[in-house]
């Protein structure tokens, strides 16, 4: 019998390394609340959003949940005080984009009750879709699955496309970000509440929950709880990285038509990961603003890896110390092991959508292996989930042929998932080369645009 052609080619099956397994176990229960650091730093640019506009002044006292900055344009989200305390200063700090961004420095009151400001609640059954969308925007939520864009923008775009389905992504963009399993187990009620809000705002009517087999039991438990209240289907997909990426997940689901999931690969669904939906369901019924988020802290250099509820603006060093950071840590990743960036400093604050940090021990980081020449084995072509030719792109990158890379070899389609790098027997740092090539190409194009205008 011929096997069904998968909806996207390639991908890899990742074995769970020891430390990922540990964080999965540790992350099975509810998230542990982290205490407040002595000072919280809140950049007005959070996640992949445009900067918000501050509405507080230096020296102002604020209550937990109070608005610190309002959304400034559609790509921006409001920022709420993660703790009751005093705005010490608003300072300009360098950001990665090469400019500066204002950062609100907040000193929490020691010993305060930290009671949160409660806004106006909204009933999803009676409110209009526009009102629900506005309420979502007011929470300041961003996508917690790794994309980090404003949630209301995604939901609004889906409503504009008239999608019929909401895909509840229980797979996740990265291995080791132990979110879905624990959320399904401990936050079922919040998940269901969040779904009702998102369905109303997006106009979708049916929900499909996608998980990999190791989470099937937990997912079935959630299905049993939700039975009767929601039009909900469960789809268990064989493990494959990076099928948790939204675009690929929609394809994978569309290819297994059961329970009436449409086969078209067009924009038929709004794809949101479980952590985001649960957070929406936690905030919206009380009209709360986003003041903290669940972050997975994992890796062999932590004594207590697991899921932590971290107040926004907490310095990473403080959060890792709370999880028992070994001073001999070799490498700290912002994000998961496949796409996460190695951080040069632990002083940066945790911002919205930063859902995982991995502190690798010496043994996990290993010694650097020198790259050899490409032997043209073609493994990367087999592994690429978007059917690019990473080997050829790598050879072109060495010659700085950025134009050919983009125009003939479609580098703009690259997800930077790392599959090609993972399988390369010559250990060529392909993803690094592609990122550099994309940056150079963008810079060159901006330069030509500037010349044309002049």
């Amino acid at each position: 019998m011929l096997r069904r052609q998968p909806a996207f080619p390639g991908g890899i099956v990742l074995p769970a390394p020891g430390w990922l397994g540990r964080s999965r176990l540790a992350g099975d229960g509810a998230a542990w609340q982290l205490p407040f650091a002595s000072r919280l730093s809140l950049p007005l640019r959070q996640g992949a959003c445009t900067p918000a506009a501050a509405v507080v002044r230096d020296g102002e006292e604020v209550v937990r949940g109070q608005l610190l900055a309002r959304a400034d344009g559609a790509g921006s989200v409001p920022l709420h005080a993660p703790a009751s305390g005093m705005v010490q200063a608003i300072v300009e700090q360098a950001d990665l984009a090469g400019g500066t961004v204002p950062v609100i420095q907040l000193v929490p009151w020691p010993g305060d009750t930290q009671e949160q400001v409660v806004g106006t609640a909204l009933d999803p059954a009676s409110a209009s879709p526009a009102a629900v969308l506005e309420a979502i925007a007011a929470t300041g939520l961003v996508d917690l699955g790794g994309e980090r864009r404003p949630l209301h923008a995604r939901v609004g775009a889906a409503a504009g496309q008239g999608v019929g389905w909401l895909v509840l992504n229980g797979i996740g963009a990265e291995p080791g970000v132990a979110g879905a399993r624990a959320t399904l187990r401990t936050q079922a009620a919040e998940l269901m509440a969040g779904l009702r809000y998102l369905l109303k705002a997006s106009g979708a009517t049916r929900v499909v929950l996608a998980v990999e087999p190791h989470d099937e039991q937990v997912a079935r438990g959630f299905m049993a709880l939700a039975a009767g209240t929601l039009d909900l289907f469960l789809r268990v997909l064989p493990p494959r990285y990076p099928q948790g990426a939204d675009a690929l997940l929609l394809r994978a689901l569309a290819d297994t038509p059961a329970g009436g999931v449409p086969e078209s690969a067009g924009p038929w669904a709004l794809c949101v990961d479980v952590a985001t939906v649960a957070e929406a369901g936690r905030l919206l019924p009380w009209g709360l603003g986003m003041t903290d988020q669940v972050v997975t802290l994992a890796g062999g250099a932590l004594r207590e890896p697991g899921r932590y509820r971290v107040p926004l603006g907490t310095p990473l060093r403080f959060a890792l110390a709370q999880a028992g950071l070994d001073p001999g840590v070799a490498r700290v990743l912002g994000g998961g092991p496949m796409r996460g960036e190695a951080l040069a400093s632990l002083d940066a604050p945790i911002t919205k959508g930063a859902n995982a940090f991995i502190a690798m021990s010496q043994a996990e980081a290993g010694e650097p292996v020198p790259a050899m020449h490409c032997i043209r084995c073609g493994e990367c072509l087999v592994a690429c989930p978007v059917q690019l030719n990473p080997a050829e792109l790598g050879l072109l990158a060495r010659r700085a042929e950025y134009q050919v890379m983009h125009e003939k070899y479609h580098l703009d389609h690259c997800l930077e998932c790392g599959c090609c790098n993972y399988v390369c027997p010559s250990r060529i740092p392909l993803v690094e080369q592609f990122r550099a090539a994309r940056m150079q190409w963008r810079r060159r194009q901006q330069a030509t645009v500037g010349e044309d205008a002049a």
């Binding site: 840590v329 490498r331 073609g378």
Partner: protein
């Protein structure tokens, strides 16, 4: 990787690796060739052993001399030497074998830029050089299988002094490959002998069965792409079968064609070498079929008794074009399915 502030080390994503390496691929290939090598030494005795050792030694030495700073740990030179030795006639003068080994590494590999650079398989380049430079020796240094005294003494031709013709030495060997014999009007040996390998031929090409087993092992451990040998052997079988159907007296049948000459060695171990094969999956089908058709055409319609070597070279010469024609379209540009 440079140390960051406070001892943090930086490295590009991804931070996991599948564990594959070039030396692991080479180890798999050597394992896959082990049964053939043992069989060759049983069949042709000291002559085969000396040829293999000389070829590998020459390749390692050439690599050492030409790239003294590169550690030879990846095993590619050793594999090149092994493949060269396996593809040579057993009684070839050893100094010629050494020359072939040096040529394979220095010209076939290093002149093309070292590992990953060669357009043609280096061992094949070495063999072609020998074929061109010493046509008489390459055409006559065959040994009859299971010759008496093979385990205790080398044929006189093996020990011929450099640049001196061993002259009558070849006539004493008395071997002729089945393909060459068929060219002279003799009939093929029974296909059981062909497949078992108890016939005259190059050191490691005679046993189609053992080569097939080794090839299947390579495919099983993902050290070779199955598409190339399947396409290649399929094309050989199809075209041979067609020709045999048209003229059974002139053309051998498909089973004989598949079991004779260097076809199995070429299909499983030379054609699958990634350096001289296309990278795309569709391209590998094209490449395999092209070589397979060329093998039959050269064998049946040219002055050469055996065509695998030239077919492989011509196939490799097509690779840049095949790669260009078969670039995959990115996902979403065509509907899947």
């Amino acid at each position: 990787m440079k140390p960051g502030p406070r001892g943090l080390r930086l490295a590009p994503a991804p931070h996991l690796h599948g564990g594959g390496s070039v030396s692991r691929l080479m180890v798999h290939k050597v394992i896959a060739l082990a049964p053939v090598t043992v069989f060759a030494v049983t069949l042709f005795g000291l002559a085969a052993l000396a040829t293999l050792v000389t070829a590998m030694g020459a390749c390692l030495l050439a690599e050492r001399l030409s790239a003294p700073r590169v550690p030879p740990g990846d095993g590619t030179a050793l594999l090149t030497g092994l493949l060269l030795g396996l593809s040579l006639p057993p009684a070839l003068p050893l100094w010629m074998v050494a020359v072939g080994g040096f040529f394979a590494i220095l010209v076939g590999k290093q002149l093309f830029g070292g590992l990953g650079g060669p357009v043609f398989h280096p061992a094949l380049v070495g063999r072609v050089f020998l074929q061109a430079a010493f046509p008489t020796a390459m055409a006559h240094a065959w040994v009859v299988p299971f010759a008496g005294g093979r385990a205790s003494q080398l044929p006189d031709t093996s020990l011929a002094m450099p640049f001196l013709s061993p002259g009558a030495g070849y006539d004493a060997l008395g071997g002729a490959t089945p393909l060459a014999a068929a060219r002279l009007g003799e009939s093929f040996p029974p296909f059981v002998d062909l497949w078992l390998g108890t016939v005259a031929g190059a050191v490691g090409e005679t046993s189609a069965l053992l080569l097939l087993g080794g090839g299947l092992y390579l495919v099983a451990v993902r050290a070779a792409d199955w598409r190339i040998p399947v396409a290649l052997l399929g094309a050989v079988a199809a075209l041979s079968g067609l020709l045999h159907g048209l003229d059974p007296l002139r053309h051998p049948d498909a089973v004989t064609a598949l079991g004779s000459g260097g076809l199995m060695l070429g299909a499983w171990f030379f054609a699958t070498d990634p350096g001289s094969a296309p990278m795309t999956r569709r391209g590998r089908w094209v490449y395999g079929v092209a070589i397979g058709l060329l093998v039959v055409v050269i064998r049946q319609f040219s002055g050469q008794p055996e065509g695998v070597m030239y077919a492989l070279l011509l196939g490799s010469a097509l690779v840049p074009h095949i790669d260009r024609w078969t670039q995959p379209a990115p996902l979403g540009w065509r509907t899947p399915r």
